[in-house]
Symmetry: D2
């Protein structure tokens, strides 16, 4: 196998999960601009996700958000997905939108609210059983807005208790992915603000508890690829929520704001042996003003291109330059890969598995965008329901 | 007049405008938690604002947000306000919530949308005429989310054109306050991102165009009091939107996150001669999880306390230390004032004008909170309508 | 014991260690402005530190920096210190100024350099044996300036190896304090950039390895008191390097930039049971343009005042408000303490142990500043030797 | 002329000035690691700069820093430069390293210090007369470290006065480039912290006063290309100090930290008509651990590659997509250019003017690096002299 075909083979074995909520409406606290053709049901979201997979060939699963994607029969939903050529992926719990959760869910000072929240998380595991999902992704909006509002340490205790109960419920092949986020919607202190906090909890829970790195959830100046390298070294990197941002948590298309950073992240993934099924590569983003399906297609392509560049890094030359302390030489090896135009290579890889060389053009030509605008009339468009 | 009574006199002559929207529901993109008793109409917002003025004695005006506070007869609304003991203050334009504004209002590439937005701004001046308001506050959410989305320079041209048209419409005693904000809701480039941009536009417009400093709208690490000093020096400080934040634009109670910063800002205001009627001291914040009226009362008190501390700075001692290059001595003069507990002093000043020494206790004792919960049943609560 | 006397008793039992290097010259990469009277030897640094203790009564130990404070006989130096009324505290290792360390010390790709660095660390433990010091503080400037320059993961392995060797050398009553820092002097990736990395290493080493929180070493927007609460909960908070900053790592006087933050930190220390001898309260700052001894005295006072305010928080009222979800009430309890002018209280506490009510005035009156300028003529002033 | 040859022609007409100080030793406040072969005199710096020009063909001028490059006869130095095939470019004033400047230079509270500083600036104009330089670049380290240390507004007045005196001294074809910087070495308030402040001063001075954008001198999250677009629109962009950084002001090689940002900046330069001789494209960086000459060569190449990509943007397609509000389409036009591998194109452009297709390889092959190590023995290596 030549180097190029090895890269292509690695590329096509990497799968990127798309999030059901990215197909629905989203916005900021100032305004949600609704878009024509947006899905009204989980089934329609799966239809859109299936189009992304059809054109890219590497997006075979769709993450659900509960209760946004609540249905009566999850096994049937999974079956429906299979019929569309995709599968149900990660189950995302949502314990931030009931009025009860105003002051927190699993860390709420009120034990009754905590109980309710934990019950929801356990329900999510039931859903995983029904859908055959491996991963439960936990992101908590829990935190405080003002100093003194609640006891920071006590909240950690409540969190640990809730996580332990859910962890105990996991099946042998199921995992818990714990996500951290510096801020928003909590304004003063978030209960899982950084990788260290997530890591500390995962360590105590056991090997099925893993950290999720959302690329938009860090303080300014944080070196994300360092965290990736460390978590892989410690065998605690469960996966990624990809997106990008210029300022706060903007949820722009992955790779849109800093393609070099995405490349460095993927380089550390490869370097640390993380380009395997154990690392969940997920998108977690939303498209407020741009059309949603092509934005997701573009994001999938951006992740692939970053991966391709990272795969092209000449590992031997890099190791040699590093050994010799050749600062400029080592940096140049990395930059050579980054500066390469990998689009033809990725297009070829895509073609090799029967997907489209140019997924965006294929999507445009497919008429799907026009069709959903025409078909999805009436009903209530999916959204965050904030 | 003793030093203390001079401080008290200065304190009670400073008025702090409260924003109508802070009395309504608000939240994040994740969730708006509705509160019982929230106003359903502009009139009810004015009622709440009147309670803040009743207890604090220094919040005699209320800013409106159009169209959130749209009524048929603004003169009648102003009359209603007067009946409650308050007045209508600044008119805030809102050109960010129509579907047309998805890609911008006054900077939109589509001239028809720009026209619509300008017309709204002109309508706001009509409202000012009816209410007797002096200030039109302009904040634009305009910007772009992705590099390349639109032409940064062309957008400046469109902005300049719109501002010029509105400026020409202002009456002799009316002003335009131009607000800047680094980001949100635009994710890549905001059209008025910093004081420099606002200042450059104001310079070209003329003396009735002034810059508004919103304390939450800066990049991390920005020295806000420096900007205040500079704008006062250049006679371009129109006023403040006070609030506070730990991370992005969180709109917490003024002074809640960094009381020392608020003190430094007020010190520069006083130093630069800005403690006059020409500087509009406004709150621009929202209360997502805390009760709204007491949060505003507390914010008014926080601004007063910061002002009181700033008034206590020993100007002669400070100037002497600065002249001598006595770094620690000069800093100590400032810190002495900051470390003083001014609450008794401010309470006395409040009492001296017939307001409550402890406004929060007085509000609690007034039964207003219980009354609005009981009375304001049915109808639609005011909110941002995002 | 009344509440006030309990506070005073707690206050005077808290000791604050001053750093020998803060008495010497320091500056930025642009310029070191030398000051008259600066110590030329470790012994003279101890003299200055003794004056700080004389006036404040709570700074009985001095941290050393090796090799900046290299002497032939450390036991004699400790004896000398005792004669001056102070003791030798923490030993700080310095493996960043030899030419060999250009690409790192314990993480250097070259095993010979790593060996040299480890040997220095072991030498520092020898010094601790001689001085009777409990703590070895490890801060590494190790990192990389450019992506690709070295292997991030391999560097962690080298670091772990070095730490393990030094940990094994520690005596029963000795500890290793591992410090983290986001950036500077490494520009791209620092090998111990955050508390999570330090914590992960400490966990593997054992209970004598503890994390040090330097208040200036975080990304913008990091909630430091959260980290403090977490580390105390996990029994891994070894101590503090206090200083303050507005932007990057500025090493200004503790409490100078954000006194409210320092108060919140001290509140979490007290809440988490950290106001004990197991928490090392150290200053780590430098005084580039202000006179050094009074700057340190002021910093000690600032830490004390923040502690006093934190001790005044009404714990019962706070817990009650938190339990009831009373956001504003809980915040108000905290702010009441912060807004209190504790200077008289702290002055009294100081007097009660025979120190000066006003340490800065006492220092000025002592004539020490003039004396050292007159006496310390000739020789080479201490500095960082960068 | 084909599109490609137009790009090449534009590329080779862009010249990039290199800074004399980048050839000398530099470091951080923790350590300066000296390098073998570093110049000892301004003449030797010019030799090194000439090698950069020899290989790249687009670096014909060298900026001087006074007094670091002080010589007796500047006309002779210019003549010497010409003999080496380069010219003297911008004169950089340095008023931050005399002991007098501890509390500022042109903004110092002491009029005698201000006078001395202004005299130095006037001397720099004399030097410009002798060297034939067009531009005087002013960067002031002036600022304060602690709140209260000096009067922020008074310092602006002193600054304005100094600038006016220097401006009056400029010849008809000379310009003053005013540089801003958020922080460092001042820790609290810098006297020219942002583009707005520099712009406000330049406006008052006149058309020969222009703003310089140093890419490393902004708050986190600042959109630099927006500033570029605005300054070009206002005809106040004098030029750039290129470098890059991940955190604070790190002075890494231009384009090393965020090549996408550099591309966006160059796109706005081209869009705004700034790719002309009126815009000074300068490097301002230093090489602490990497060899200096190749680091500068690489930086020149990085600027060229960013320019080449920006030149490849399909302006018509972009304008059309922007007009239509096609967010993804417009972004895609930009990204297509960025994703192109322009190295062959730039290599060809370089060859077309007789420079080296691969300047780094040519430099390595030239033996210059070995020669200077051998030749430059003894004497004192150039450095910042901090």
């Amino acid at each position: 196998m030549t180097a190029v075909s090895a890269v292509q083979s690695a590329l096509t074995s990497q799968t990127i999960e798309t999030p059901s909520w990215a197909y629905g409406n989203s916005g900021t606290r100032f305004k949600v601009f609704a878009q024509a053709g947006v899905p009204r049901t989980p089934e329609e979201k799966l239809q859109d996700a299936a189009r992304v997979h059809l054109h890219t060939g590497v997006a075979p699963t769709v993450a659900l958000h509960i209760p946004w994607d609540r249905v009566d029969d999850y096994a049937a939903l999974a079956e429906h997905a299979r019929g569309l050529g995709v599968g149900i992926g990660t189950i995302n719990s949502n314990v931030f939108q009931d009025d009860d959760y105003k002051l927190g869910s699993v860390t709420n000072p009120d034990p009754a609210v905590r109980r309710k929240a934990v019950r929801h998380l356990l329900d999510c595991v039931d859903i995983m059983d029904a859908t055959g999902s491996r991963d439960l992704k936990l992101w908590f909006s829990d935190g405080t807005n003002y100093p003194g509002q609640d006891d920071l340490s006590a909240r950690q205790g409540r969190l640990a208790e809730a996580l332990a109960e859910v962890y105990a419920r996991l099946g042998d092949d199921q995992r818990m992915l714990l996500e951290y986020k510096l801020f928003e919607p909590a304004f003063y202190a978030t209960d899982v603000p950084d990788w260290g906090t997530a890591y500390a909890h995962c360590l105590k829970l056991g090997p099925k508890a893993q950290v999720v790195v959302d690329t938009g959830h860090h303080a300014p100046g944080t070196n994300i690829e360092f965290i990736v390298a460390l978590l892989l070294r410690e065998r605690r990197l469960g996966g990624f929520d990809f997106n990008s941002r210029f300022y706060a948590d903007d949820d722009l298309m992955a790779g849109a704001a800093d393609p070099f950073q995405l490349f460095r992240i993927m380089y550390e993934v490869i370097r640390g042996g993380g380009l395997t099924a154990d690392t969940a590569f997920m998108l977690d983003q939303c498209h407020n003003i741009e059309p949603k399906i092509p934005a997701i297609i573009r994001s999938v392509m951006n992740v692939q291109e970053a991966t391709a560049k990272a795969l092209l890094v000449d590992a031997d030359a890099l190791a040699a330059a590093q050994r010799e302390g050749d600062v400029l030489g080592a940096n140049a090896v990395l930059m050579d890969a980054f500066n390469t135009d990998v689009r033809p290579l990725v297009a070829e890889a895509r073609s090799s598995i029967g997907a489209d060389a140019d997924p965006l053009a294929a999507y445009r030509a497919s008429g799907w965008a026009e069709r959903i605008v025409k078909d999805r009339v009436g009903g209530e468009q999916a959204g965050w329901g904030a």
